[in-house]
Subunit: 409 residues, 2 copies
Amino acid sequence: MKAVLIVLDGLGDRRCKALNGLTPLQAASPTLLDRLAAEGETGLVDVVSPGVPNGSDTGHLALLGYDPYKYYTGRGPFEALGAGIELSPGDVALRCNFGTVDHSYVLIDRRAGRISSEEAEELASSISENEVEGVKVIFKHTVEHRGVVVLRGGGLSYRISNVDPHATGTVVSMPKPLDGSREARLTAEVLTRFLTEANKKLASHPVNVRRVQKGLPPANFILTRGAGVKPEIPSFESKYGLRGAVVAGGALYKGVCKAAGLDVIEVEGATGTVNTNLGGKVDATLEQLKSHDFILLHVKATDTLSHDKKPVEKVNMIRKVAQAFERLYKELPPNTHLALTGDHTTPSEIGDHRGDPVPLLIWGPEVRGDSVSMFNEIACSRGGLGRIRGVDVMPILANYIGALEMFGE
Amino acid sequence: MKAVLIVLDGLGDRRCKALNGLTPLQAASPTLLDRLAAEGETGLVDVVSPGVPNGSDTGHLALLGYDPYKYYTGRGPFEALGAGIELSPGDVALRCNFGTVDHSYVLIDRRAGRISSEEAEELASSISENEVEGVKVIFKHTVEHRGVVVLRGGGLSYRISNVDPHATGTVVSMPKPLDGSREARLTAEVLTRFLTEANKKLASHPVNVRRVQKGLPPANFILTRGAGVKPEIPSFESKYGLRGAVVAGGALYKGVCKAAGLDVIEVEGATGTVNTNLGGKVDATLEQLKSHDFILLHVKATDTLSHDKKPVEKVNMIRKVAQAFERLYKELPPNTHLALTGDHTTPSEIGDHRGDPVPLLIWGPEVRGDSVSMFNEIACSRGGLGRIRGVDVMPILANYIGALEMFGE
């Protein structure tokens, strides 16, 4: 037996005024998801810990069964892995945005006017390979304004502060060591030199000159955050005896899954954006089920619309996703189990992550079932799965498909 | 106040085709259990951990409040304790079956045609006491084809492989050390010599000569598994302040309870089989409640029928057990609390353990109650106890009867 775990990013929500007091899932009430809930089993998931708001990185680690409190250092290495950079022990990786600063380093725009992938790619090529004090500094652009920085060389540490202040109007502050170690000091120094030099190169780059002429914010600064090292975790296959793959657009999701040893499937047009190629993702999932036992299928757009405070658009996106997955449901190989959940709650009238649990459904021939017949935050609280932890989702799913070894006799 | 914890082995199940999509508990809907559920409180129990299929050994350890991840080494010592063998620190104990091998050591029958207790006992007496390389090797028969081996002497280890391959048609492989220690190597050597010599003695034993003449598989090989040492655990009485006893047929259940310091009550005709003396167990439970605060009352047959893939017979057995317990309910001393659950899920259309949670009910004057009025896997998921862990069952029950010390002031 096989299984597909669908993660709709930032799916969990709260009652929205714009939706007459319903959550986006309640307002959407998508036919497929309600049917799966009615035929399957439902529950609520505290993805990392009850009440604790979590990121997509810690959320996905937990959903794959890895305790993020044990294994997580920062988001950077997952972004780097997802961007196709192989990480070695000792490498420090950081997530970053192209941002806009003025001549006094005051932050004007955290996303450089949501610069296009094409322009960002052109800028990136001017700062991709660098060497500072014997440390190799690799910059790689991923999607839109996003990219990664990897520091490679002996004696580095991930214990350095974020440069991205997450708020405009403040002066960008260069990375500081977070402990008294030589390694943290060196890492902060090397990164500061790289960021300073990159700022100079980017400011005078033709792409930015053009943008300024058009009145657009120039992408003249690399805002780093989430320094971390690749976690040493037992492989997904060794934990569950399942050969797994991930179908996702965003680099982060590919990266977390890659760290766990899943195969990363590239899908044309799966961009991690609102206009992602949902049909292509369904095709890839069905295709990969021929050679894999487990697929993690990720959709980012639900979270993006939540951050943009667009509850109505989130409702529409949920419906669109559910409609696209009708074909996945119909063409699923026999005895394949489906699970669907979110990696965290992003209330779409707040625009930021919160620690409310997320709804979960598990559907398939081996599932006991319960009395819940709708898929949303309220209905699932009465489900047969009860209120569980993120790290328990994967063992529960693996149990249904008979993948787990017995403990004891 | 006192308490009885009834464990119906392998009680948890899934929807069965043979039962029109109901679980055996739903199909049985036994009057007593539904009444206790209606008057009491219900929930679901992840006996060792969500999704993780567990054995009866780890399951009973957890239900008594001992974390099996901390204390469990193997099933052998519990079988040995239950068979009445006193274990000392350093003793290595193994569970075993009489099996049938051909002249090339190919396994023909894992249970020697489910040989009778009488014949097995006669065979056992020929190999009960042995000495190999200064190590004492004790063999003791328990029920039907089952028995235990205890190795006693300095420098032994439980880190040796199972001999029982759990599948016929394969060559039986002698025990191997599982680590590089001297102790594991010595233990594997000693056991190998014992098994080889036992095979010779058994093959020519009159009981087996007769069996072969009758066309029955001879019980000519001892299939060992589950090597372990007696866990060093705080006594049940020291944990809960309760004097406890166990009423069970199977050696394993007696053994786990004995390891925790419970008194083992022998009941005439309590065999751990489908024809066990349920009335005798009820009598023993009522009698022992005069001198004990807590009784664990175990019935094995529900699991046996699940392993034999007999959902309809499981339904009948659940009804039979519930009927036999009507008298226990009626004659229970005032203020005695009853809990009823399983030690794991054994779906009776799969025939093997799975990690689905098991239903639990707790009934008694101090219980809060909930809105659930039936005792089955689906109804209990809406119960007031929620979804809890196996190690939490005993503290919850002990709390209701006012047995627990306060933590803090």
